[in-house]
Every structure is written in structure tokens, then in C-alpha cells.
């Protein structure tokens, strides 16, 4: 029976870790939007065409280097 004296404190430590992880997740907006991140794996990562990232870059010639 003495094993519970070790296992129960261990389970409490794990519980504390779980709660800490959950609080971290809530504070870092992990639970604010549950729909959009689900789409991320469906997207193939394609390299953006150069200059397409900003409207200004697309409209004006690239600065001289």
C-alpha cells in the first residue's frame, strides 16, 4: 500500500503540469478560434511569388539594390 504514497503525489504533480499547460494555451489564444486552424493542414505551402506579398511592391518597380 505504501506505493500510493509515491503515486498520488506524482499524479498531483502531473495534474499541476496539465493545468499550467491549459492556462498557457488559453492565455495564448489557443481556444479563441476553433475553426480556422483546422484548415491549415489542408493547405499546400506554396512559395509566394516574389513581390506579391505587398500591394505596393506589386504596383511599383522593386527598389534598386
Amino acid at each position: 500500500m505504501n506505493i500510493i504514497l509515491a503515486l498520488i503525489p506524482l499524479s498531483l504533480v502531473l495534474l499541476g503540469l496539465g493545468i499550467w499547460a491549459f492556462f498557457w494555451a488559453v492565455n495564448h489564444a489557443q481556444f479563441d478560434d476553433l475553426d480556422t486552424p483546422g484548415l491549415a493542414p489542408l493547405v499546400e505551402d506554396r512559395a509566394l511569388p516574389p513581390g506579391a506579398a505587398s500591394p505596393a511592391a506589386a504596383e511599383s518597380p522593386p527598389p534598386a539594390e
Binding site: L12, L39, P55
Partner: protein
């Protein structure tokens, strides 16, 4: 079937050849704005959006000029700065599914200087943090517009979202309570087993202190809202639900602690934790529903434009914020734009659509010197106006005050379940005290355990869950049917409704006209007349023009030239050598011609054809009204429109009672009269002019296409612009009331049976815990029985009292 736009899914006008190159294939689009959006999204490498989305996008408008947003006067109001970083909150129109927020986050995040883009799809808000020195706000807004969304920056105060913080804290509290409850129950099971099998006092105390350890955060952190609420209620000297709940939690916790210290009797830490968790669960579900209601958006931000074109003394135009306008300024309003402030028309004439403000369905002609109202839309312009009233003095703002007053006067129905539960908890506390007192008299040693057992057995979990679980289930069922319940207690009131008031324009009718008949002059066919009429109305977006174009769909239209629209009169143009006029009889045929309300097409030699138009009644309106009448509900039409148009619609739908030319004040007065008969009154409407009545009625119901302001003050929003959602909402509301009553009866029966036994000291603690859980489970399972009615009623053609006119 006409072709649909690749971007927004709207029908493409026949003959349009606009295409956008996407993924190597040309795709048909409906307008320049949509083409720009498709090509821009493709250029960003975000074309996956079209694969991911579940709803078509909103129609994109051609890109506007946003540079005015960089003016210091606007910047101060809408942007918050911290060092180099600027922060703003934007209300995004056209945000429809998760793919939209994905698209916005990717597209704006790629702009230089942007540090953070976070989209809240439920609230339709976008929070931006960026380096103001690198990128001005106007560039972010124009990027958003190029994607096809409309951007309405919100005042800087909106950045800190109260709702978000509240939601996060509530979620943390709920999870702590849940985890604490599970642990406490595990240790409690060990203790119960020990009570049967024998357990040495040292191990027993070990488990008791473990229970204390995991329950303490639940009571001190998770149950905080109950203690805070109880303090507020006591300070206000009224007894609500929080006082008895907080008292019961504290009592069970402190008593268990005393028992553990004393080393005797029983501890009930698991009950305290479970009690807190179940109650918090109910509260959390209610909070979610409440936030969704608040998300139905700052209506004013959409209704009133934030920018205006001011004409300076030199005659040049500058774009300024609406809050910078002062009476006396001269403002230019473009065709199709919203009027920014009340003012006096300086141009010869224009016509405006005030349907959202007054319910009048036809566009109104305005002449020089007439007043234009803020919030109305210029149908035929442009126009110059001199500002007379701004800000809180405008008619629109007075409407907002009317809404606030009507909402405050709405009779608040105390929730049946909550009232019952609060009374019950108070009774249980009294009973606990009596039990303790009685046992102290007979056998002081058993007083404490018996009193505690009464408290635990009678734990009002089943009561607390009876109402929220039924409501939550009902909300979920209705949401799947497309009916959004903004205020949950509206379902209870919906059961009591004996009379339903309908607005006409936009509610019973669609905001469109349909062609009823064509009377042609000798020698002219119906097709020829329609083709001529449609050709003349080619460029117009007047409802009449749309009706003619719809009727002439598929015909080859002759090319008309020199088209000129005369506001409030009609349109003229030339076709070949003949000059044609289409409009009121007096316009087309010359002054003195008899006006029978129809639209006349005339050439140089007199009348060619007469078109009779009528408002298009929604397909499902007749069946919905019949079904409501069959349930014994009185129907009535309250409209701001002219009497003959209201009468025509009332006759077609078989509604006997109708009132025309009703201002919002008139509608409210009518509501008061009906209310005095003490019957439940529901109002169904869509315009801003209906908003005060929606706020004041027992149940306010808005259509999803309604003005934001109306939606914000409605209790129910019918999705998909379908009226028959009302029938489903009522069916589900009745089922919910039935289930709630069963739940409350069950909880009452269980407690009446168990409490006397507990008071006599006959219930062992493990049985008390099992009984409590089973009674809660019963309530939960019963609530799951609420389901949607089998299917939507089949839409049948409108026949009730329809006026069939024979085409000559």
C-alpha cells in the same frame, strides 16, 4: 440557370463577358470588384481559399480610396499607439466562414510591418497590430477591400475585448472545477470503499486531506463568481440564485473541513466540487449564448458611414471623418452612398431609399431644399447637401434613443426555473437548520452528519441543470435549422405569444418588384414591349428596372442610346430614330394623363405599353401565416408603407388586420395597446424602423438579411431569410417548455423523497452521492429529447386571396 460568379456566387447578367484568370483557367465573374479580388488572391498564392471555403464570398466592390483614414483627426479616434506600434480593431463585412479568416490572416500578415493579425470570426472583428512608420492604416484597409471584404474601423476603445477576457476566465474556472471534481471523486470512492471494507484511520485521514487539497482551488477560484454574485445580491438587499448557492458551497466545504480536523463522521469535498462544476457548466453555456448576442455587432458602425466628402471654400473636395462635420458644411454624396448627416439638398433633385428608416418601399424623390436623413441611401444621385444636424441630433440617433427606451420598458419575465430553484435552495437551507436543531435536541452527536447529509442529498444540481440543459439543447437544435436565438429566455416567452405583428416591406415581401401584367397597344407584342422597357432600364438599379430586366431575361435587347434618368419621374432614351419615355403616366404621356399606378412606355406616337408591377411576396410567407393562424395566433401587419400597397399584400396573404403609414412611434403605440390586453405579442421585422418595436415586443424576431440594428435588438434571428423558421422556433420552444417542466418535476420528486430520509439520518454518504449524480443525469438525458420538427413545411404556391389578373 444563369451562370454564377466564381467569387461571390451571384448570378451573372446575361451578355457579360468578364472573366478572371484563376489557376490557369478563366473563371466567369460578375463585376470588376470580384475580378480584382480573384486576381489579387491568386497573386498572393492564396487560391486555396476557394477550395477551403464553405460559403460563397460577399460581392466585392471596386476598390475605394482609403487615404482619408490616415488623417490625424481619424487616427486619434480609431488607432491606439504604443511607441512605434499601432493597434486597431476593424469590423469586417463579408466574413462568412473559417476560410475567410484564414485568407485575411495570411494576406494581411504578409504586408510589411504587420506584427499581428487576429480574426474573431464569431464577432466579425479583426485586430491588427503593426508598425505605423512602415505601413499606414489606409494600406491595410485597402488590402482588405481588395480581398473583397468591407472594412469598418471601430473606435479604439473596442480593442480591449471585454467579452474575450470574460470567456477565457470562465473557461479556466470551468476546467479547474472539472479537474478538481474528478480528483476529489476518485479519493471519495476510496473513502467509500474504506467505509465498507475497513480502513485504518491514518489512510482515511490521508485521503480526506487529499480531497481537501484538490477541492480548495475549486472553491476559492472556480466558485468565485458565485461568491461575488452573492455579495452583490446582499448589498442590493435581494435574494437571487447566487446567495443560496454560495452559502451551500461554503457550508459543505467548511463543514467537511471541520469534520476532517475533528477526525470523525464524513467529509463531502467531492460534493462541493461537483456542485460547483455543474453550476459553472450551466453558467458557461448561458454566457456563450449571451456573447453571441453581443457579437451581433455595433450596428451603428455599419449604418452610418465614417467618412464624408466635404467641399471646401475653394470648391475642392476633401475626405473627412463624419465626426469632424459641423452644421453648415457642404457635403458631396456619391450615387449609391449612404447620407452621412441630416442636411438640406442643394442640388435640383435626387432620389433616396429611406426604407430602412421609414419602411416606405418606393424610392422617394427629393427636391432642392428638402431634408435628407442620415442613414438613407442615395438611389439616384450624386447630390450636394448642406449639413444641418450632426451626431446625436440626427433623426437616426433619435431612433436609437427610442430603441433604448423601448428595450428598457419591455416586461421582464422572471425565469420560471431560476425562481423555482432559488426558492428551493432557500427551503433546503431552512430544512438543514431545522434538522440540525432537532437532532441537537435529541442526539447532539448526530446533528452535524444528518444536517450535512440533507444538504448534500438535496443539492440543487438537478434544479440548476433543469433549465440550462434544456435551453442549450434547444439553441443547438435551432441553430442547426438556421434560427439564431439571441436571448435564450425568448423561447419561454415565445410559448406565450398569442399575436404576431409583421412588418411588410422586406419581411412579408422581398425587396423586389415582380411584373404582374403587360397591357400592350395594338400591333405590339408583349415580348417587344418588354424588350424595349428592359433596354431603357439597362443601367438602372431602381427596383422597377430590376423587375423589367428579370421579366425580359433571355431576350435580345435592342441598343438604346442617350439614356437619361429623371428622379421620381422615369427614364428617357432613343432607340434608332425614335425617342422613348418610360415612367409615370404624367411623365411618359405628358401632364394631365390619368395615373393608375402602372408604368407607361410611350413613344412619339403615344402609348406603347403599360406595365403593372407588384411587390413580390416571399414564397413561404403564405404557408407560414396559415400555419400560425391554425395554431390560434392572431396576425397583424404594421407597415410604414402606403395604404394601397399594404392592403394588396394583406389581401393576398389573407391577413384581416393591417395598419399603414406607421411611424416607429405609431408602431410602439400599437404595441402598448395590444400589451394592455395582456397577451404575448411578437414582432417580425427587418428595417431600422422596426427596431424599437423589436426591442419592445415580448419576442422580437428579425430576418438574417435585416439591418444590423434590428438584428441587435431582436431575440431571434431567422436565417436564410426564411419566415418558416418562425414555425420551427415555436415548435421547439413548446417542446423545451414541456421538457423543462418535466425536469423540474423530476428534481422536485427526487428531493421530496430523499430529503426526509436524509433528515432522519438514514442515508449513508455514498448513497447520497449516487442519488445526486443520477438525478442530474436524468435531467440531462431528458433534455436531449428536444429535437427539431420532422421537416420544413413544403412551400406551396401563394393562393390565399391571390389576385389573378388576366393579361390583355
Amino acid at each position: 440557370m444563369a451562370e454564377r460568379c466564381f467569387h461571390c456566387g451571384e448570378a451573372i447578367a446575361p451578355g457579360s463577358a468578364l472573366t478572371a484568370l484563376q489557376d490557369g483557367t478563366p473563371r466567369a465573374v460578375c463585376c470588376i470588384g470580384c475580378r480584382a479580388a480573384v486576381e489579387w488572391i491568386e497573386g498572393l498564392g492564396l487560391a486555396d481559399y476557394y477550395r477551403l471555403r464553405s460559403e460563397p464570398a460577399a460581392r466585392a466592390e471596386a476598390a475605394a480610396d482609403f487615404s482619408a483614414w490616415d488623417r490625424p483627426a481619424l487616427d486619434r479616434l480609431y488607432v491606439r499607439r504604443e511607441g512605434d506600434q499601432a493597434e486597431a480593431c476593424v469590423l469586417v463585412g463579408g466574413l462568412r466562414c473559417a476560410a475567410c479568416s484564414w485568407l485575411i490572416e495570411r494576406a494581411l500578415g504578409a504586408l510589411p510591418g504587420v506584427a499581428e493579425v487576429s480574426v474573431n470570426p464569431a464577432a466579425r472583428r479583426l485586430r491588427l497590430r503593426w508598425e505605423a512608420a512602415v505601413t499606414p492604416l489606409s494600406r491595410l484597409l485597402s488590402a482588405l477591400a481588395r480581398l473583397g471584404y468591407t472594412a469598418h474601423p471601430l473606435e479604439a476603445g473596442a480593442i480591449d475585448s471585454m467579452a474575450q477576457r470574460e470567456q477565457r476566465t470562465a473557461l479556466k474556472r470551468l476546467v479547474i472545477a472539472g479537474l478538481g471534481m474528478m480528483q476529489a471523486m476518485m479519493y471519495a470512492v476510496a473513502l467509500y470503499a474504506g467505509a465498507f471494507e475497513g480502513m485504518d484511520p491514518l489512510t482515511r485521514d490521508f485521503f480526506r486531506w487529499l480531497g481537501f487539497l484538490v477541492t480548495t482551488p475549486v472553491v476559492l477560484y472556480s466558485a468565485q463568481p458565485f461568491f461575488a454574485g452573492a455579495r452583490r445580491e446582499l448589498a442590493a438587499r435581494r435574494l437571487g440564485m447566487d446567495v443560496p448557492v454560495a452559502f451551500a458551497i461554503a457550508l459543505v466545504y467548511v463543514a467537511s473541513l471541520a469534520e476532517a480536523l475533528r477526525g470523525g463522521g464524513q467529509v463531502y469535498f467531492d460534493s462541493a466540487a461537483m456542485f460547483t462544476f455543474f453550476l459553472l457548466g450551466g453558467r458557461y453555456l448561458e454566457m456563450r449564448a449571451r456573447h453571441r448576442a453581443a457579437d451581433v455587432v455595433d450596428a451603428l458602425a455599419r449604418l452610418q458611414p465614417a467618412l464624408a466628402q466635404r467641399r471646401t471654400a475653394t470648391g475642392a473636395e476633401e475626405t473627412v471623418g463624419v465626426h469632424e462635420l459641423v452644421p453648415g458644411d457642404v457635403v458631396h454624396v456619391a450615387d449609391g452612398a449612404t447620407v452621412p448627416a441630416d442636411g438640406e439638398l442643394l442640388d435640383e433633385r435626387c432620389s433616396v431609399d429611406e426604407s430602412m428608416l421609414s419602411g416606405e418601399s418606393a424610392a422617394r424623390a427629393r427636391r432642392r431644399g428638402d431634408t435628407l436623413l442620415a442613414g438613407s441611401v442615395l438611389v439616384q444621385g450624386p447630390a450636394l447637401l448642406r449639413v444641418t444636424r450632426v451626431g446625436s441630433d440626427t433623426v437616426l440617433s433619435s431612433m436609437l434613443r427610442l430603441i433604448a427606451r423601448a428595450g428598457a420598458e419591455r416586461p421582464r419575465v422572471a425565469r420560471e426555473g431560476e425562481r423555482l430553484a432559488a426558492g428551493f435552495v432557500a427551503a433546503v437551507l431552512a430544512l438543514t437548520l431545522i434538522t440540525a436543531g432537532a437532532w441537537l435536541w435529541f442526539d447532539p452527536a448526530r446533528a452535524f452528519p444528518a444536517a450535512l447529509a440533507v444538504l448534500v442529498v438535496a443539492c440543487p444540481c438537478a434544479f440548476a441543470l433543469a433549465v440550462p440543459t434544456a435551453l442549450t439543447r434547444a439553441l443547438a437544435v435551432l441553430a442547426r435549422q438556421g434560427v439564431l436565438v439571441v436571448r435564450a429566455d425568448a423561447l419561454e416567452r415565445l410559448c406565450r405569444v398569442r399575436r404576431v405583428l409583421f412588418d411588410k416591406t422586406g419581411t412579408l415581401t422581398e425587396n423586389r418588384l415582380e411584373l404582374l401584367s403587360v397591357v400592350c397597344a395594338a400591333g405590339v407584342t408583349r415580348e417587344q414591349a418588354l424588350a424595349l422597357g428592359a433596354a431603357l432600364e439597362r443601367g438602372s438599379r431602381h427596383p422597377l428596372a430590376c423587375a423589367l430586366r428579370t421579366a425580359a431575361e433571355g431576350m435580345t435587347l435592342p441598343p438604346a442610346q442617350d439614356l437619361e434618368a429623371i428622379a421620381g419621374q422615369g427614364v428617357r432614351g432613343t432607340l434608332g430614330a425614335e425617342s422613348l419615355r418610360l415612367g409615370r403616366a404624367s411623365f411618359a404621356l405628358g401632364p394631365g394623363a390619368a395615373d393608375d399606378g402602372s408604368v407607361v412606355l410611350a413613344g412619339a406616337h403615344g402609348e406603347i405599353a403599360r406595365f403593372q408591377l407588384r411587390e413580390r411576396v416571399r414564397g413561404e410567407a403564405a404557408t407560414t401565416l396559415q400555419a400560425l393562424a391554425a395554431q390560434g395566433i392572431a396576425l397583424e401587419i404594421l407597415s410604414g408603407d402606403a395604404a394601397e400597397r399594404v392592403e394588396a399584400v394583406a389581401r393576398r396573404l389573407g391577413v384581416a388586420t393591417w395598419h399603414a403609414r406607421q411611424t416607429p412611434q405609431d408602431k410602439l403605440a400599437r404595441l402598448d395597446v395590444l400589451r394592455r390586453g395582456s397577451e404575448g405579442v411578437a414582432m417580425v421585422g427587418d428595417g431600422v424602423n422596426d427596431a424599437p418595436v423589436l426591442a419592445g415586443a415580448d419576442v422580437g424576431i428579425a430576418l438574417a438579411g435585416a439591418a444590423e440594428l434590428s438584428q441587435a435588438h431582436a431575440d431571434l434571428v431567422l436565417g436564410g431569410d426564411r419566415l418558416d423558421g418562425l414555425l420551427q422556433a415555436r415548435a421547439v420552444a413548446l417542446a423545451t417548455r414541456r421538457v423543462m417542466r418535466q425536469n423540474l418535476a423530476w428534481a422536485m420528486a427526487y428531493n421530496l423523497g430523499a430529503v426526509p430520509l436524509a433528515a432522519l439520518g438514514l442515508v449513508p454518504p455514498w448513497l447520497a452521492a449516487i442519488g445526486m449524480s443520477l438525478s442530474s443525469l436524468g435531467v440531462l438525458l431528458n433534455s436531449l429529447r428536444i429535437a427539431a420538427p420532422d421537416s420544413r413545411p413544403q412551400a406551396t404556391p401563394v393562393v390565399a386571396g391571390a389576385v389573378q389578373e388576366v393579361t390583355a
